[in-house]
């Protein structure tokens, strides 16, 4: 009798557990939440892979922008690029033509002929000598400019103690900072660029019409992407047609 009663209770309990399992669990969770200690009554949501926020990128037109994550260099972050002057002059020209303010620090040998042809000279600022502390200068510029390119003549591994104040200022501003020749522990985007071939010249005739640059883009948001970019008159001709339309 007692055994039956126990069995009956056990059966009831098991029934309770199966039928009202969800309700019981909910009730138990609520009780745990009431006790406190950081336990939340909601069941843990299964998190999917975090999508990167692309709204905060400085868009770069052209082939370089197509392989950069988000279509351009990330704002309020520091990226790295190889010191390939032609690619950078082209990028500056495109950015200034799009209405962004760009600054070049520490690169007196850079020739800005592309900016004359396709960009806006009023939006380009050149600081040939960044002073004794060029990182401070970059921090000051980060408050107002859209794109800052810094060239270090020597191969400079910036120590974490010096990177921290720079990153703080860059995050407080609105600029996309791109270092060339200087390295930080973890750049947002790393672009390597090597000129490979010059096309258009023959023995005694023709002129340089296209420059092939092999580009590899490494970033946290995507696997490394490689592309061969061609700089030449044709690419800009397309750009002008787009502007005309």
């Amino acid at each position: 009798m007692i055994w039956e009663a126990v069995q009956g209770v056990a059966f009831k309990l098991s029934n309770m557990l199966t039928i009202d399992k969800r309700a019981t669990v909910t009730q138990l969770r609520a009780q745990m939440a009431a006790v406190g200690g950081g336990y939340s009554a909601e069941p843990a949501v299964e998190t999917s892979v975090v999508q990167p926020d692309y709204s905060n990128t400085l868009p770069i037109s052209g082939e370089l922008g197509e392989i950069l994550p988000g279509g351009g260099f990330p704002r309020m972050a520091v990226s790295e690029i190889d010191p390939c002057g032609m690619l950078i002059a082209d990028t500056l020209a495109r950015a200034s033509a799009a209405g962004h303010y760009v600054a070049v620090v520490g690169w007196p040998e850079l020739l800005l002929a592309d900016v004359l042809d396709h960009g806006d000279v009023h939006r380009v600022f050149v600081i040939p000598d960044g002073g004794a502390d060029p990182l401070h200068t970059i921090g000051v510029l980060a408050e107002g400019m859209d794109l800052i390119i810094f060239r270090s003549a020597r191969d400079w591994q910036i120590s974490p103690t010096r990177v921290r104040p720079l990153l703080a200022k860059v995050r407080a501003g609105c600029a996309a900072v791109v270092l060339s020749g200087a390295h930080i522990p973890s750049p947002a985007v790393r672009v390597s660029a090597t000129p490979r071939a010059f096309s258009g010249l023959g023995p005694g005739h023709g002129r340089i019409r296209g420059i092939d640059i092999a580009i590899t883009v490494r970033s946290k948001q995507q696997p490394p992407r490689t592309h061969t970019l061609t700089l030449g008159e044709d690419t800009h001709h397309t750009l002008q047609l787009q502007h005309a339309n």
Binding site: L111, V126, G204
Partner: protein, 510 residues
């Protein structure tokens, strides 16, 4: 109406002789420069040669030119004017300007003031003419015509004055050649000159043209020196405690900015150049030194901009730390101009403002010449077409995309400070040069500069640069693009230039 002018016609002639009715003329360099009315009636004129004058009127008294005598005798007149008016300024013996508004205020009526002036100035035998106008130059001309020009009607009055009358007044110091050229062009009155654009006059005649334009437009901003002390232009603040920290500097900057902006507003001028001077005192040794920096702006500065610049400048100086503590801050608006068309501040968009202020802050830190902007010029080579000018100077952005003969994209990106010399050799080891017919003397095979040697893969035709073709001593240049491979197989491309019988690397495609 700010200025009254008293004119004593032919004063040197009156100073030279006691009898006003005897004909007298002043001679300088054998030419008559001043003569009294009696001499005029005899037929003598200004500019006449001495011998010619003697032949017309043998008994006329000819006196030598003596400015000292004129001034000495005129001093008595000036003194008697001093008794009735303050702010009497002598332009030359025979021409006096008086601060009119203050005088009218003192005597409470214009008629009384004028009567007092004329009574004080009257000398037996000498005429006195008076004129009143807003500006000094207009007042001088109005005195010569005996007119009172109401306030604001200077331009209308000046339009009717002929250039010959203006030239007759020697204190204007107008160049006779310029006036002759203008008269040949058909411009006879100051109104005709005022109708021209001032820039055109300045371009053609330089400073002399500017002087005539200023007189014609009534733009003479000189004031008659009043007896009251002149207002100090520079704003100087001596902080109670020496400034050592940036936030104290910010507070001081705001104060100075507000004061200076109020002063500029009161004067209805806008400032385009600020000079910030600061006295640093070394706390240990007590010695002081002054540092100053001048700020150049395109647009008029407003209160916020003034305060910003002072704050950044003090920040820049303080953060270098080596100079000491700040004891005096002085800001001097060096270049003040009349606000054009009533606009005092520039609107400016937010993004442009942010970029501009960032560039200006870097200028504060590193110097005005540290931040540059590319300026476009015409030229064939991309190295010639770009010049870097300090930010804030005018950037010439003419459209040179269609410059004839220019090198087209893609452009090289690396320019060395001194283009190095290179040697171009053919397969046999002979040097490849550019002949007079602008062709290469051989087929290039290797390029050598410094210690590096490259094998040539391709080269373009030569671009001769025909500049200054009228000057036979001008250097002749020819440009060529060259692609070469180094020992490791990497391709390089350069823009080479043939100049002074030698190849140079003008720019690199790198």
């Amino acid at each position: 109406m700010a200025v009254a002018c008293l004119w004593f016609p032919d004063w040197p002639a009156h100073a030279a002789t006691d009898d006003p009715f005897a004909p007298c003329a002043i001679v300088k360099n054998h030419e008559i420069i001043v003569l009294n009315n009696a001499a005029r009636h005899l037929g003598l004129r200004r500019g006449m040669r001495e011998r010619h004058a003697k032949s017309i009127a043998p008994h006329v008294t000819l006196c030598p030119h003596d400015p000292q005598r004129d001034a000495r005798l005129f001093d008595a007149v000036a003194e008697s004017l001093d008794a009735v008016a303050a702010g009497v300024e002598i332009i030359r013996p025979g021409l006096v300007v008086v601060a009119w508004d203050a005088l009218v205020k003192f005597y409470r009526a214009e008629d009384t003031a004028m009567e007092k002036l004329l009574t004080a100035a009257s000398t037996p035998g000498v005429d006195t003419c008076i004129g009143v106008a807003d500006e000094v130059s207009t007042a001088i001309l109005s005195a010569r015509h005996g007119r009172i020009v109401p306030s604001g009607e200077s331009r209308a009055f000046l339009a009717g004055i002929s250039l010959r009358h203006a030239a007759a007044e020697e204190s204007f110091d107008l160049c006779p050649d310029t006036l002759a050229t203008l008269q040949d062009a058909g411009l006879t009155t100051l109104g005709d000159v005022a109708a021209l654009t001032p820039t055109a006059m300045m371009t053609r005649f330089g400073m002399r043209g500017a002087r005539i334009v200023d007189i014609a437009l009534g733009r003479d901003t000189r004031r008659v020196a009043p007896a009251l002390p002149a207002e100090e232009r520079a704003v100087r603040i001596v902080p109670a405690e020496p400034i050592t920290r940036v936030d104290e500097a910010a507070f001081c900057a705001r104060q100075v900015g507000a004061e200076l902006a109020a002063w500029l507003r009161a004067q209805s001028v806008v400032c385009r150049r600020l000079k910030i001077s600061v006295e640093f005192t070394d706390p240990t040794s007590g010695e002081a030194q002054w540092c100053s920096r001048t700020w150049h702006t395109h647009m008029a500065v407003d209160e916020k901009m003034i305060a910003e610049r002072i704050r950044w400048q003090l920040d820049g100086w303080l953060s270098s730390g080596t100079r000491g503590v700040i004891t005096v801050v002085e800001v001097d608006p060096v270049e003040c101009v009349i606000a054009p068309d009533g606009e005092l501040w520039d609107a400016g968009k937010a993004r442009e403002e942010a970029a501009r202020s960032a560039a200006v802050r870097v200028q504060a830190h590193l110097g005005a010449g540290a931040v540059l902007q590319p300026s476009v010029h015409g030229g064939v080579s991309p190295t010639e077409r770009v010049t870097l000018l300090p930010y804030g100077d005018a950037v010439c952005a003419e459209d040179t995309r269609a410059w004839p003969g220019r090198l087209t994209a893609p452009h090289p990106a690396h320019v060395g400070s001194a283009p190095p010399e290179v040697t171009l050799r053919d397969a046999a080891g002979r040097a490849v040069i550019v002949t007079a017919g602008v062709v290469l003397s051989g087929t290039p095979h290797t390029v050598k500069w410094g210690h590096s040697c490259y094998t040539v893969e391709g080269w373009s035709a030569l671009w001769p640069a025909e500049e200054h073709w009228w000057d036979s001593s001008a250097p002749r240049m020819a440009r060529m693009q060259l692609v070469a491979r180094d020992e490791r197989g990497m391709s390089h491309a350069w823009l080479m230039v043939w100049r002074d019988r030698q190849w140079h690397l003008e720019a690199a495609y790198a």
